[in-house]
Symmetry: D2
Subunit: 271 residues, 4 copies
């Protein structure tokens, strides 16, 4: 763990290994810790894990920001760290930020990896956002858990990992602070107005889109939209997985990322 100061904010980050930089943008409840089990799987890259504002050990944000704040902060972060160009992987909320970054600073990216994300916060997501914000505002881990997890994990994962989920619930209950919950609420509100479906047509980066067949919060049709809009995209679906595909199917997830990165800029001559 290390910190970098950017204006009023401190961002928490971790760096592992050597190679082309590969940065991981967290889903809304995740932190740099979420990626540690994957370090050994991505040996060929310089891995950058980072907590965005209001995530993990980074600074808390101010009321009313949008996801754009992360975009500019990431750019400053790269400058400060002397990182010229990265592969950018974003999950859910992190994928939304990654697309926004690709629109503003395409020259900083080798490629884009978008997992279980959307280009548009739809009406249903807004209601989910409201209940998640409400649950966070109770500062009660059990309520927060029940309000969020059924959207995050598939019914199959629930059936097969009941004990693990119960342990995780207990962990959450004991570890999350009022400050964390307040940050979560600001973060989720920052995505309310997302609508870049038309804008992303201009993205020309090699892009991997990872979907999951049981994802109910960013269901496959939303990723099909991204796939249609971004020209140079590949689209693969992890079977029997919900929204948190990196947790439900870590082997498949890591395989897709590694395999894509291996040849992201090569052309094959078949057709």
């Amino acid at each position: 763990m290390a910190k970098v100061t950017l204006n009023d904010y401190e961002l928490n980050y971790e760096i592992y290994g050597e190679g082309e930089p590969l940065i991981f943008l967290n889903g809304i409840m995740m932190s740099t810790l979420s990626w540690r089990p994957f370090v050994d799987f991505f040996k060929d890259y310089k891995l950058i894990f980072i907590d965005l504002i209001d995530q993990g050990s980074s600074s808390k944000g101010k009321e009313g920001y949008t996801q754009d704040i992360h975009v500019d902060m990431l750019e400053e972060f790269f400058n400060k760290m002397n990182v010229n160009k990265v592969h950018m992987l974003g999950i859910s909320y992190g994928g939304e930020v990654a697309m926004k970054f690709a629109l503003k600073y395409p020259e900083k990216l080798y490629s884009l990896i978008l997992s279980n994300t959307t280009s548009y916060t739809n009406e249903l997501m807004k209601d989910i956002e409201d209940i998640w914000a409400y649950a966070a505002g109770t500062y009660n881990g059990r309520i927060f858990f029940k309000a969020t997890m059924p959207y995050i994990y598939s019914y199959k994962f629930y059936e097969e990992n009941a004990k693990w989920l119960k342990d995780r619930e207990n962990l959450l209950v004991n570890s999350l602070t009022p400050e964390w919950y307040d940050g979560f609420i600001r973060a989720i509100r920052s995505a309310s107005t997302l609508n870049i479906t038309e804008a992303i047509e201009t993205i020309e980066l090699p892009t991997l889109i990872i979907g999951a067949d049981l994802d109910v919060i960013t269901p496959l049709p939303y990723q099909e939209v991204i796939n249609k809009k971004i020209k140079d995209s590949r689209f693969v679906v992890i079977k029997d997985s919900g929204h948190a595909s990196m947790y439900e199917k870590p082997y498949e997830f890591a395989a897709l990322v590694n395999g894509f990165l291996k040849n992201y800029d090569k052309k094959i001559n078949i057709i």
Copy 2:
């Protein structure tokens, strides 16, 4: 609206038309009112709408009952009303009760119609149950709405009916009472232990199973299980619909029910 007294309880019911009786068992939040728009669509039957204990205008239940209480009360209701045999249609919670009824009193049924239901309350449903119960316990309609509706309606329906949903939210906020919420909590708890997947193999009634491709709370695989277990079943899927298929796609829903009932007991000689 009429009432019938059974032991300590009063059940609210409505009856329309003439013909073989067709009874409608409500989903957990529904009442006899939910079916009124359909009266004109089911002209060939004697329609019986009924509020189960803790639904609509029927009596409130006592703490700790299971869905079995409804089964016996329905049987008493039929006796009292001189109804010998019915077609039984159940949605979600009502479908669970209908299967339980079919297991105990098969001789009272001509046929079974099961819409968006399950034979098993899985681990994920239990967490949803918890957050729904919690939200009900706040006696706050807005919270209750946000906690429940994203599971009930599909993202497509949300996009296309934003205003209608907002109106409905306002209606809910103004009309639901603490007594209603308490009843809702008891009702949802009464389904916690449901597991009749093996038992329903003995059902021999002609059965129609209606699923919806975007149903996230009782997804298609749960209805496929019912389809496999019940011998004489037909299985049809309404496209672009979530859990509340009767509201999202009323024409398709009514067509399936009418068409099934038309020939439920006839055999065709093709294969």
Copy 3:
């Protein structure tokens, strides 16, 4: 069986029952005989089964016609039979003719029922058309059967009805004549240029669209297109069925048709 003479052609038809007329347009290999097992299922209508040119016992066609010939011949047929208005049900090839009829003579239709059909003969269908035409040209029933049936029935149906399919193969081998095969070739060529995807936007008839999840020749996306284009459509999917949904799932098929017709022109007031 009866015949009516229209210019140079004789059309074979059968009529059953009383009520609003419901006409069945065959899939390419079907005939009026295919519908007989369904007579008892559609008691409320005056059923009209008809063989189009080059089908069943109707006249053979001349080289080079398109599906338009059927459209005008149906209109003449209705005039001659004093039929003013019908419900028109078409399967596959018959569904294509039905849509074309709806475009030219909408005033003759109460409603439209389209099963496992397409508004566009795509590149893949053209190759299938070629091999079917080739197989027909061998006048060898076994070859014709193997070339066509794997597209018509789902792998599930094949597994469960191996003996029935073998019997059917033997039937085909013994009954089809060179004249029939020649007619089949003309008929299939008559659909080569079908492309009415844009045109059908103008159809305002109440329309039922029946799809099947395992249909590989007119897969669901083609029926989704029809559903999007025709305003007043309902769309339902029969589970575990291939292209020949009327044979694979006759109960579901008949239920959908009866249920739709029951209330095709009524409006429900839910949303």
Copy 4:
């Protein structure tokens, strides 16, 4: 191109690069040439392309063999080439051979990659086999093309690559010899009796299963069966692709293989 002699047969093979050996077992119509465009994508491995008996430039087989002949010949081939252990990738027919090899010589394998394949030749496949064999027996490339390609490529690929498919048809017409067609017929017959669904439960190798959502000849449910039976499997689906996923979606295909191989034997500690 090189040849190795094993008893009465000569096998054609090609070898590229350095690293752990990765052998590619062709689909039934493929040859070592099919893999050449991929060489540059699999830089980290010693690539072994091989034509099985009756494929490409290898010897022709004798009447009546089954896929077992390939299994033993591969084992002899490895011995002769001083190859101790390989990653084995098989597509369709090649995947069937790969599973059979894994059952008999598991100690020779690091891992298994199965693309668009099946553990069981079902009734529908047998009819397709018959028409393919018939079409091959005409020695007419155009007929063979029309009989086979609509099963191999998805309707989407057909729409988007009409010209490429036409060119390929012309190539086929001009290049395939009667001897090739005879070999094709023997090869396809060698898979008729395949049924190892129960047997593969004993496979303990790390296994990647690649399916495609529009594959109509080995549809996803057949790969779900393999996924359930083999313990240590990962299952990923390529979107918008038919049976020939390596051709339709070469980037996704190569990414899955590379990514899987990168960490096939590592364990991650999340759950």
